[in-house]
Symmetry: C2
Subunit: 310 residues, 2 copies
């Protein structure tokens, strides 16, 4: 009966989301997902973080790749290449179906939150999955190689350019998606998943309505560090911190979220930071290799929420 | 050195086009293709007759199905069905790539004729393939089950409703695609392939610029009957003729094209009609089972053109 809102981006966030989904009743879990990575590709609306979460919760994710589906074939992509089409973003044959249905629904006037509900329900997901916004917010990265849209930076250029600044185009006018503010207002705890703070969580915080709801709530807000022993489990978090002249230890993440947080969850590898930060900390194993790891971290987060509420 | 323009629709037309492609130099062959069957499906621009021709000329067609590619997989379609998407129009995984590239190019402002040239060249086709128009012309069928768009009639309803009238929405304002009128003006002969006159050829004739060019040319215009022994080789031609209260013999086709024709090519099965029509006729085997059949019919048509020019 602990109603949780979890903010999540890509693979790391999806792992904790899967843990939360296993230990909470579905009606008690709302997952708010970054859409700053969304983009149009080959005329399709691609929503990488929603899809990673959807495939993870539906048991369809590809654990090796960290994106897309496990049961995938690549015949369309292969043919695209023979036709001179764009192939830098790899779309599997089954994955394509999701993008086609979503794009068609959006063109027919549905909101992203509506079609996300339809698609997650269709795949048997019972928890509520909401995009952070139904309005377009697009992450752009200013780099030494020029201004790049997020997917061009992340996938096409494989995070190689040096990041100088990050912008969330559209965030200043975007509203939170229907249901997001209500879920935060009604919840017992907010968990910021171990996603990239700069690329996955900041786009959400850049939406005034969402940020205001997080500041307003009396429910505890806790974050799980995506940095363990000075490195990111996956992705360019530490590289970007270095490029932005930040330290690359977990304390920098806590400092980044500042007084939004009531608690910061550190990995055992970083226990030397315990009690050293401006925010209370708890130490646990945050690296999630197995389903047990995911559920254990979820339970630790829920216990922390309960303790903060007591 | 006989420059030919062939007007073609679906499978029957594509067979003769393949024969013409084999016996003519590529620079002497222009194929003008019906686009009345084009439609938007799942946000993609599908051009069934262009695709049937393209796959046939590229050696990629599926001879069993009569549409799509031979080397096909159906994983996207299968997944569409699990996601509640539309599956009545069967899109293969490799076929999808063509629609994605075309749709993207059209959205970027290219004309259908431009992207058709790009795609046919990319697949190694050297003859010129042109849509009848770069403007949208959409075939609708008035039936006892109401007004249906062509693909809804043809694929979804499998031609079951009784046809009362056929309309080509947009044809009255459509222009011929760039290159079509020039090809007709410069050619030595026009061949109307054995395609459905009512559904595949009439949309072309409904475009004033194209019809006028066909009337103006001094080059002979010949048509190959799509009706053999009172039946269509494939598709609903005879059924529609019956429903439109027309006879279902080949002479009705010649009558339909009227004085546009300089010669009508009858199948051996219909040789009793030879000399009985208002237009001169020639008799040959029009049923094309093998590659030899296709080339033989192409050669017969070319010989007829040469004879008429002499």
């Amino acid at each position: 009966m602990t109603r949780i809102v979890a903010l999540t981006g890509g693979v790391g966030g999806a792992k904790l989301a899967l843990g939360l989904d296993a230990v909470l009743a579905p009606e008690d879990l709302t997952l708010v997902v970054n859409t700053g990575d969304d983009f149009d590709h080959l005329g399709l609306h691609i929503a990488p973080d929603i899809d990673t979460l959807t495939y993870t919760l539906a048991g369809l994710a590809n654990p090796e790749l960290g994106w897309g589906r496990g049961d995938e074939s690549w015949n369309c992509l292969q043919t695209l290449s023979t036709l001179g089409g764009e192939t830098w973003f790899q779309l599997g044959d089954r994955d394509l179906a999701l993008h086609l249905v979503r794009t068609q629904a959006l063109k027919a006037g549905q909101r992203l939150s509506e079609v996300t509900t339809t698609l997650t329900r269709q795949l048997g997901i019972e928890a509520t999955v909401l995009p952070m916004s139904d309005d377009p917010v697009r992450t752009h990265v200013e780099t030494n190689a020029g201004r790049l849209s997020f997917q061009h930076y992340f996938v096409r250029e494989q995070c190689e350019p040096r990041v100088e600044a990050i912008e969330f185009e559209g965030a200043d006018t975007a509203r939170a998606a229907a249901g997001v503010v209500e879920a935060i207002d009604d919840c017992d705890g907010v968990i910021i998943c171990p996603s990239n703070p700069f690329l996955s969580v900041d786009p959400m915080l850049a939406i005034d309505e969402l940020h205001t709801a997080l500041r307003r709530t009396t429910a505890p807000v806790i974050a799980v560090s995506p940095i363990v022993g000075g490195a990111a489990i996956k992705g360019p978090t530490a590289k970007i911190m270095h490029e932005l002249n930040l330290g690359t230890m977990a304390d920098e993440i806590a400092r980044h979220y500042g007084d939004l947080l009531d608690l910061f969850v550190l990995d055992e590898l970083d226990k030397f930071l315990h009690g050293q930060l401006d925010v209370p900390t708890t130490v646990t194993q945050t690296v999630m290799r197995t389903q047990n790891d995911k559920e254990a971290l979820a339970r630790t987060c829920l216990a922390a929420v309960e303790q903060l509420r007591a």
